[in-house]
């Protein structure tokens, strides 16, 4: 067993895990942060996307031990301090960018990563960036619009380009 400690959503946490334990399993099973989901076993679907030291990571591709000492952010820590939805979450609700909700945490985390690095993406940028996040419900139309809205751009104008 490996001892580890890290910061998750701003709070220090620690645990004892098998060497083979994935970060996503540590988050879900040990910390009971079940908002991060597992949708595949080949790192294709992106439902498990979290931020590790400020970078979007599919938490099924990383051992928990590799995150020892890291600063980890999950969907549970994304809302505003008063509990209201943050800009990205609100844009997803406003534009009906989710249906069953299973891929949604990963989509929100991937979107935050995109907008950090490219604050005003166009439609093609959004689609390219989200290629590692699969949604089976929405057909992506409303997700693309939600991401553009979260960037503060005029959605219809950007989407029509």
């Amino acid at each position: 067993m490996t001892k580890l400690s890290m910061t998750v959503n701003g709070k220090p946490v620690s645990g004892n895990v098998e060497g083979r334990t994935l970060l996503v399993d540590f988050l879900r099973q040990d910390l009971h942060l079940t908002g991060t989901h597992v949708g595949c076993d080949t790192s294709q679907c992106g439902a498990c996307t979290v931020h590790v030291n400020g970078v979007a990571v599919k938490s099924c591709t990383m051992l928990a031990a590799e995150a020892d000492g890291a600063d980890v952010a999950t969907i549970e820590g994304q809302a505003n301090a008063d509990g209201s939805l943050n800009v990205i979450q609100q844009a997803f609700q406003d534009h009906h960018g989710l249906q069953c909700g299973f891929c949604t945490p990963g989509m929100v985390m991937a979107t935050a990563d995109l907008l950090k690095n490219n604050p005003t993406p166009n439609e093609a940028d959004v689609r390219h960036h989200l290629d590692g996040n699969i949604c089976r419900c929405t057909g992506y139309h409303n997700i693309v619009k939600a991401v553009l809205a979260a960037s503060g751009q005029d959605v219809d104008a950007v989407a029509a380009e």
């Binding site: 949708g39 249906q99 693309v144």
Partner: protein, 789 residues
């Protein structure tokens, strides 16, 4: 000015808040005290005789609590098919037992033959790998044609690989044959409706719990229909009394059909929980989902259209082989028959038609209803063939369709495939499509594309579907072993807020937002004070769940009926409160009043009186304000639509890019336009995915070649366009109280032929007029080969 609440408004979805903040509760998110973990040992060969299974090493591994094999389940029942189909000769279909765990023989890759229960999932996985199974691999049956030709058998005991040989409508066969024989023109098309994997993003998961103190079982499971799952487990498989099993389907991460069915893992975790006295959890890996979830489609079809030289349709004839896989999944026999053959008249006034379907067992995963379920197969073959017919006759594809449409004044219309369509206006749909898709501007766009060296094509089609599944009397005659009503209970609490318990299950459809809109409109109260309860058999009335675009049309109608009962009872109470006659009480906007007087009481006052019945006419009215209604539809509903797709084809690579997609649908009345539009988007993505990307393939030995997201091409954001969606052409359903038709499957039904028609059109514009068809998925390799053959 759009409404901001009630029917026709688009309030934001209330369920989104928990999904967006990580607070959704999916089955695998639920941890229980003392829980254990199940992992299955699955066949790695397509078929083989189980000679022995040595579990001794596994049983002695760390943390292992129990190992089960097929021997442990020989005395329990099989998982049944829900629909009895009779062959043309009157013989009932062949129905081999589908056991909890394979016994004697494995029949597809992934067929489970043992299960390990251990303290942790990792320990269970390690132990499952230590099970020594001596399985003597046998020749596999994979291809349907060879399966019917004789040789190896999937089920030795039934002596054939043919499940049934079904004719529809048998009495029309001779007339159809004669019409085709003598027709001035016959178009023939052979095509494959490719096998798909539903791939809801949440893999299947089940947790079984047994309480030795009460003898009660609880099953948490990823289900679209908890009561149906309970019925199957109790009445057919494990023999548990229904009142001793609670089935809970909490938040479910998409279904698309694959979570309608009962699967053996559910029975295993319940049995194991009883044996161990501890909760038993199982969650599928994505690989297991590919191997064991019910797949979709997989038809090989020949269709003929007989017509006059002017395009007037005379007869349609369809011959289909439908793969049912290694075992009959619950709806697998209904899907290629009564959800397919009955739709083969499409939107048209064809005088006669005949459909023959041979269902075939193969050593592949079971195949069952996947979004659209039979109706996409019908639409695809008919609408592709009509396009080919138009080309052969030199007619515009839309003009040929218009010529044969059922006219608006012909409804209700008894179509040649046996269904009576209540309402529709297909001409209006096509008119709207021409406008929204800017069909008149196509040639200019084609010229612009040509200047870039690419080929632009346009494909159009219409569709009809039968939704709101289903009238129990009718489906009973046709072989259904269950009724297909739904149910709702409206409970007005003493303080005036309302819980609505529904049989439908929401796993993305937004019921928690849309159903309150209906109740709020009827009661004139704030929809925020109305909550929907679903997914738990201990809380909801016996409903049949969510599939077949039925939730609003069937369960929503039950909600309306129950709410009407609430209003009727509340009127009685209000009459007493106002010392007036019940007949004089009027109800509007949440207020009960007596016409011509200033007497009035609010809905909340009546609710309070119902639960604090002081000075209450107990002899005439029961206390409380709670009503249940079951609703069984009088007919199917008949959504219809007209779709247009524009593609660009790169002649150097064969790659197809969708540039524009326009979907015009008639769903009857619409309760929440935002949600309906979202449902169409998702359906379109799945239909376009089928047309361009997705393909589940097995090799000749029955090994699945596309069992991960690295091998199976799921549509991703960059594969798809922004869609133009319209549902303003509304011919309300005449037989349900909301006038709604259902919208969940339309996009997946209507879109594949539009895509393929567009690709063929593009190739013809590039001079490849000899290319009359390309099977789905229309991949770059297939397009390139067609252009260069």
């Amino acid at each position: 000015m759009p409404k901001d609440s009630g029917i026709g408004a688009s309030p934001k979805r209330r369920e989104d808040i928990r999904f967006l903040t990580g607070l959704g509760q999916y089955t695998d998110d639920i941890s229980l005290t003392g829980e254990t973990h199940a992992v299955f040992a699955r066949s790695q060969v397509a078929t083989g005789i189980i000679k022995s299974i040595d579990t001794s090493a596994a049983e002695n591994m760390p943390g292992v609590l129990a190992v089960f094999t097929g021997d442990d389940f020989v005395d329990v029942g099989g998982n049944p098919a829900g629909w009895l189909i009779n062959s043309r000769d009157g013989e009932p279909m062949k129905e081999p037992k589908r056991p909890v765990l394979a016994h004697g023989k494995v029949r597809h890759v992934g067929d489970a033959y043992a299960a390990v229960i251990a303290e942790t999932a990792e320990q269970a996985r390690d132990a499952a790998e230590a099970i020594e199974a001596d399985i003597d691999e046998q020749p596999a049956v994979v291809d349907m044609k060879s399966a019917l030709a004789g040789g190896a058998l999937v089920h030795d005991e039934i002596g054939t690989n043919q499940c049934f040989d079904w004719g529809w409508i048998e009495d029309n066969r001779a007339a159809t044959d004669a019409a085709i024989k003598s027709a001035p023109h016959v178009t023939t098309l052979e095509l494959v409706n490719n096998r798909l994997v539903p791939n809801a993003m949440e893999p299947r998961a089940s947790t079984g719990v047994f309480d030795p103190g009460t003898g009660d079982y609880t099953l948490y499971t990823t289900s679209q229909n908890p009561h149906l799952t309970r019925l199957l487990i109790c009445a057919f498989v494990l023999g548990i009394p229904e009142n001793k099993l609670r089935v809970v389907a909490p938040d479910v991460g998409g279904g698309f059909g694959s979570k309608i069915y009962h699967y053996g893992e559910e029975a295993l975790v319940l049995s194991a929980a009883k044996k161990l006295g501890r909760p038993v959890r199982w969650t599928a890996s994505r690989s297991e989902s590919f191997l064991t979830d019910a797949h979709g489609r997989d038809h090989v079809t020949k269709i003929e259209i007989a017509c006059e030289k002017d395009g007037t349709f005379l007869a349609f004839r369809t011959e289909t082989m439908a793969n049912v896989g290694a075992y009959l999944s619950n709806f697998s026999t209904a899907t290629p028959t009564f959800l397919h053959g009955t739709l083969m008249a499409g939107n048209y006034t064809v005088p006669t038609l005949y459909v023959n379907v041979k269902a075939v067992f193969t050593n592949t995963a079971p195949v069952d209803a996947y979004r659209g379920a039979g109706r996409p197969e019908a639409t695809y073959s008919l609408e592709r063939a009509i396009d080919k017919c138009a080309q052969e006759l030199g007619m515009d594809p839309l003009a040929l369709r218009r010529k044969n449409f059922i006219k608006p004044d012909q409804f209700p219309y008894a179509a040649a495939a046996g269904l009576e369509y209540d309402t529709g206006n297909y001409h209006a749909l096509v008119d709207k499509l021409e406008e929204l898709a800017d069909l008149s501007g196509f040639e200019a766009r084609r010229a612009a594309t040509k200047a870039t060296g690419k080929l632009r094509g346009i494909g159009v089609n219409t569709y009809i579907e039968a939704c709101g599944i289903a009238p129990s009397n009718l489906v009973g005659v046709l072989g259904s072993r269950v009724g297909l009503y739904d149910a709702a209970t409206v409970r007005v609490n003493a303080t005036g807020n309302i819980s609505v318990m529904v049989g439908a299950h929401s796993h993305g459809q937004g019921h928690e937002t849309a159903f309150p809109q209906v109740v709020a409109d009827m009661l004139g109260i704030d929809e925020g004070s109305i909550d929907i309860v679903h997914g738990d058999t201990s809380k909801i009335p016996f409903g049949m769940g969510t599939y077949g675009s039925r939730s609003l049309a069937v369960c929503g109608s039950a909600v309306v009926r129950a709410t009407e009962k609430i209003i009727n009872k509340a009127k009685k109470i209000a009459a007493h409160m106002m010392e007036a006659s019940e007949q004089d009480v009027e109800f509007s906007e949440g207020q009960f009043s007596i016409a011509g007087t200033d007497k009035s009481v609010g809905f909340g006052d009546v609710a309070l009186k119902a639960y604090i019945p002081h000075n209450f006419p107990i002899e005439d009215i029961e206390p409380g304000l709670e009503e249940t209604a079951f609703y069984d539809p009088a007919n199917f509903t008949y959504p219809a639509g007209a779709y247009a797709c524009e593609v660009e084809v790169d002649p150097d690579t064969g790659k197809v890019t969708i540039d524009r997609f326009t979907a015009v649908d008639d769903f009857g009345n619409v309760i929440n336009p935002m949600i309906v539009t979202g449902q169409v988007h998702g359906g379109l993505a799945q239909g376009i995915g089928q047309a361009l990307l997705e393909n589940c393939t097995y090799d000749e030995n029955g090994q699945i070649l596309s069992a991960s997201f690295m091998d199976y091409a799921m549509p991703r954001a960059s594969d798809l366009p922004l869609y133009t969606v319209d549902h303003s052409c509304q011919t309300p359903c005449t037989h349900n109280p909301l006038g709604v038709k259902g919208c969940g499957e339309a996009g997946a039904i209507g879109s594949p032929p539009a895509v393929v028609n567009a690709v063929i059109n593009a190739l013809h514009s590039g001079g490849h007029t000899d290319v009359t068809h390309i099977d789905m998925p229309v991949s770059p390799a297939r397009v390139w080969a067609a252009m260069n053959s």
